[in-house]
Amino acid sequence: MSGLALQSVVKEFGAFRAVNDVDLTVPHGTFVCMLGPSGCGKTTLLRMIAGLDLPTSGAIRLDGEDITRVPTHKRNLGMVFQSLALFPHLTVGENIAYPLRIRGAPKEDQRKRVDELLSMIHLSGYADRPVSKLSGGQRQRVAIARALAISPKLFLLDEPLSALDAKLREAMQVELRQLQQKLGITTIVVTHDQREAMTMADTVVVMSGGEIRQAASPIEIYRRPADSFVADFIGQTNLIEAEQDTLNHVTVLGQPVPGLQLPPGAAKATLSIRPEDVHLTAPGAGALSGKVTFVRDLGGTIETFVDVAGRQIVAVSTPRARPEVTVGQEVGIALTPDCCVVLSK
């Protein structure tokens, strides 16, 4: 099979299990974002793919070949580190040429490839500058160009954009995704920024506690989270308990919601309802009713906090679709069954 495959990969540091039995398949040419809170094992997993750490058990395959014990320098990959790790004693051009020089490429070819890469990252003419004279975004691009110099089989990035300011980061996300699509290279990015993951990835892998909680397309992750951790971690959500009696009538926060179905036989389940799916109605018109406790007007969107039987539910709407509500007002909440995701756990 072409692409990367992780099979029952485990990594232990002493008694601590950083990565616990991870299976993952990354088809050739896809862009994968590994997303999770700090300490979830995502960086350790990336380091094992790079060969900088050895798995305690399990196998890593690249294009069908077992590379678990292949030393890093023989894996033909490109990696961008969080610190960028540009060589301070080399110029921009020499940094980009480093992987070619190490492999003994002729000087003429090195220069040609460096020029090619510099124009790709919009830094033509910067070859002779010292890396210390570049701005943050420029260094970022040089690190990316250096990692791509040999057209690697795998392109790995560890929190590559975290050092940039918010505006530049957003721009680089788009640029990185476009670059990856142009080159068709299998790419794995570790990030804790979900916007970044949603922007760039074909597949988002949500990790927590050393395990993969869900691996799916960004929209699938958002629309159909596998569990309450994923639902809560990706975007904003309302997690509400629902109960079902023997006659399959479902009640949410003590109020019956007709049309909603839990899995057959389940007495209880957690519902995930995205704030933009929560529609406010006139009092008594919706399935639930509550009292407005706070209104956060952000200009582009308005968040309304509603207290329903002691639970806070957040509704988001645009100003045009905004119902006229004020703090303390009684409102109804419409729940359509297709907006409620029933979580398995």
Partner: protein, 284 residues
């Protein structure tokens, strides 16, 4: 933190004490020595104030030139050996667990506490025929019979490298600890074997530190005068040995002073050359 240049005379007062100490115990004696180097020697161990170049003229002979050349060569050899040995050692040490580092650093510091005399006699025993390391090689069947390894140039070099090694490690250690470990990791992901990464990233990134360490060990080794006598033959004696000989045993202060001044000038010249060469290399 306030970082302004000193404004009033009072701001310079913290400098007074070190400046006074430096003047009394370094500048004045050194000035005296320069003066003495031009004095006229009197038979019987005294000298009269004069301004003659005799002492320098006498120094410009093949014999003293040879000794000066040997001293410089020995100091350069010690400096290179120390850095070549200490750089990989210290690099590996910085990558070890904290507890291992502490054990090694304490061991190295304890070597520093040994006097030159003890180091010299210890190595002369280790290199002797009757009780030396060759006996171990004989016992292992690697040599047919024990032999003396001292006096010899190799013995002098070994003793001096042993003495200077801890200094070298201690000077290199902070720079290597501060070196970003992701630099070598990046080199490895880009296709460099660990050895290649060391030579293409660690060594060039530390070029200035390495130059500074070479100069430090060189100067340290230049002053050594006990180990060459304990472990070497007379042709392995350094200029420092001859200076001591002239000053103490021949009672020829003006000539000893002239040699010392000459040694200082040559050393300063070499250090300046190294620094200039280092600057040029950086600009290129």
């Amino acid at each position: 933190m306030r970082r302004e240049p000193p404004q009033t005379l009072g701001d310079y007062s913290p400098l007074l004490f070190p400046a006074a100490m430096l003047t009394i115990f370094f500048v004045v004696p050194f000035g005296t020595m320069i003066a003495v180097s031009f004095f006229q020697r009197q038979q019987g161990g005294f000298y009269t104030p004069a301004f003659v170049y005799d002492n320098y003229a006498r120094f410009l002979s093949a014999f003293f030139g040879g000794v000066l050349g040997f001293s410089l060569m020995l100091a350069i050899a010690v400096a290179i050996c120390c850095v070549v040995l200490a750089l990989p050692f210290t690099y590996l040490l910085t990558r070890m667990a904290r507890s291992v580092q502490v054990v090694w650093l304490v061991a190295l510091l304890s070597v520093l506490s040994l006097s030159e005399v003890i180091i010299g006699f210890a190595w002369s025993t280790l290199f002797s025929r009757t009780a030396g390391i060759t006996n171990i090689l004989v016992a292992l069947g690697l040599m047919s019979e024990a032999k003396a390894l001292t006096p010899s140039f190799a013995a002098v070099l070994t003793g001096m490298v042993y003495q200077a090694f801890p200094y070298t490690v201690l000077v290199l250690f902070p720079a290597l600890v501060r070196l970003d470990p992701t630099l070598t990791e990046a080199a490895r992901t880009l296709g460099a074997s660990p050895l290649k990464a060391f030579f293409t990233v660690v060594v060039p990134a530390l070029r200035n530190t390495i130059t500074a360490t070479l100069i430090m060990v060189f100067i340290f080794a230049l002053g050594s005068y006990l180990l060459p006598q304990l472990l070497g033959r007379p042709q392995h004696w350094t200029l420092s040995v001859l200076i001591t000989d002239q000053a103490i045993y021949q009672s020829n202060m003006p000539f000893a002073a002239a040699m010392a001044v000459f040694l200082v000038l040559v050393t300063l010249g070499l250090v300046a050359l190294t620094v200039i060469a280092g600057r040029k290399g950086e600009a290129a």
